[in-house]
């Protein structure tokens, strides 16, 4: 039980996917301009990564390994993710247009979000079983959401006029991310 909690907390906070592993940076830096978009993307990511981790885990254990074709994992995983995203998009469009309107446009982004593929690959590397894969994916995605929401809230405060000219735009966002990263390093070394 403790180990499972540790996996979730570790994925979310101790080795934060964005601030520590640098996965998902592109959308992290881009989408955090808007608070609402960030929250929406975050939830979409949680949804997709958790399911993708589960599916990837099953495929790896029951298809790739038995047939000795582990080297296909990258292709298989990315196709799974792309397919999953398509399915989720279609599902949402049909069943819940409201949610689709707020979340849907972010779904294609998630396909190329390094975080999804990165988590699937890390799970394999760590040798997690199915349950651990799901929890790890979930934890990672929660960490992504926390990070992007926090960065978005910080960016709301920043007024371009106050900044020296060369810092406007990307640099101040990167510096903000650096400071957030420093704060998150406090979680390093936690053990239960």
């Amino acid at each position: 039980m403790k180990a499972l909690i540790l996996i979730v907390v570790s994925g979310a906070l101790i080795n934060n996917v964005v601030l520590n592993q640098f996965l998902g940076i592109c959308s992290f830096l881009g989408v955090s301009k808007q608070m609402k978009a960030s929250a929406s993307l975050g939830f979409a990511v949680i949804f997709v990564i958790t399911i993708a981790s589960a599916v990837a885990s099953l495929l790896y254990d029951f298809v790739l390994k038995p047939f000795g074709i582990e080297f296909m994992k990258t292709i298989v995983f990315i196709l799974v993710i792309a397919a999953l995203v398509q399915i989720v998009e279609m599902f949402l469009k049909k069943k819940s247009p409201a949610i689709y309107k707020s979340l849907g446009i972010f779904l294609p982004l998630i396909t190329t979000n390094c975080a999804v593929l990165g988590v699937a690959l890390t799970n394999v590397q760590n040798g997690y079983n199915f349950g651990e894969c799901v929890l790890s994916g979930f934890g990672t995605a929660v960490g992504f959401t926390i990070a992007i929401v926090l960065l978005a809230s910080v960016r709301v405060r920043i007024r371009e006029e106050d900044l020296p000219a060369p810092l406007r735009g990307a640099p101040i966002v990167l510096i903000s991310a650096a400071l957030m990263s420093i704060a998150f390093m406090g979680f390093g070394g936690l053990s239960f």
Binding site: G24, C26, G30, A37, I75, I78, A82, N113, I175, A178
Partner: protein, 226 residues
């Protein structure tokens, strides 16, 4: 300038993927802890980029528009896997250093971005040159960042001791915060000396629609570069 050479110049300087287009941030931040890592990652990506641009350009008339994206992904993923296997077999130390970031080349915005923005619209040879230019630009940027971080954070450059033993290096630069700070510094310098970066895309987010690289082909994206 010869249009082939122009591609090289474009990728290296004018539209440097990392510093100007701001693509491929993930590997840039993650891998640039040492200059040698930068070279390793950069060259691996360049290899994949050249091949993928070539293949996609050759097939550009053959792939139907609707399955454009998934096809590119499969092609790139296959190329990456090939590259990964080759590195693992013949360059094990590089493989160790780069870890999972090799397979992540698949989702490196640069590759899919160039496929979408250039390779599927241009001739194979030009696409290859574009691939070389972009790849080299990425490599140079990555190596530079790696060099700075290595010197400040470890006192070495390319593995050789540069700072005297008595000066204590600042460990933060080989850690995540340092990555953000160094890249921020590069962009600040470029801003200060007047080179315009395509930040607006990355930072403004296009109203939240395609805040990522040019994968989804947001029409607005092309305007900003000009």
């Amino acid at each position: 300038m010869n249009k082939y050479v122009e591609r090289l110049y474009n990728g290296l300087v004018r539209e440097n993927p990392t510093l100007v287009l701001m693509l491929g941030m993930c590997p840039t931040l993650a891998v640039s802890t040492r200059a040698l890592n930068g070279i390793g990652m950069g060259l691996s990506t360049t290899a994949v980029l050249i091949l993928s641009n070539l293949v996609i350009s050759l097939l550009r008339k053959a792939i139907p528009d609707e399955i454009r994206l998934p096809s590119y992904i499969v092609i790139v993923a296959s190329l990456v896997t090939v590259t990964e296997l080759l590195i693992e077999a013949y360059l094990p130390s590089v493989y160790e250093a780069l870890g999972i970031y090799i397979p992540l080349i698949v989702v490196n915005c640069i590759i899919l971005g160039r496929a979408e923005a250039y390779a599927n619209k241009n001739t194979p040879l030009l696409s290859v040159m574009d691939g070389i230019g972009m790849g080299l630009g990425f490599t140079v940027a990555l190596t530079l960042a790696g060099l700075v971080r290595e010197i400040l954070g470890n006192g070495t450059a390319f593995g050789l001791r540069v700072l005297p033993e008595s000066i204590e290096p600042m460990g933060i630069f080989v850690q995540p915060p340092g990555a953000f700070l160094v890249i921020a510094l590069f962009i600040i310098i470029m801003n200060a000396i007047g080179i315009k970066t395509r930040q607006r895309k990355l930072v403004e987010g296009c109203d939240g629609c395609c805040a990522n690289c040019a994968v989804t082909g947001c029409p607005k994206s092309e305007e900003v570069t000009k």
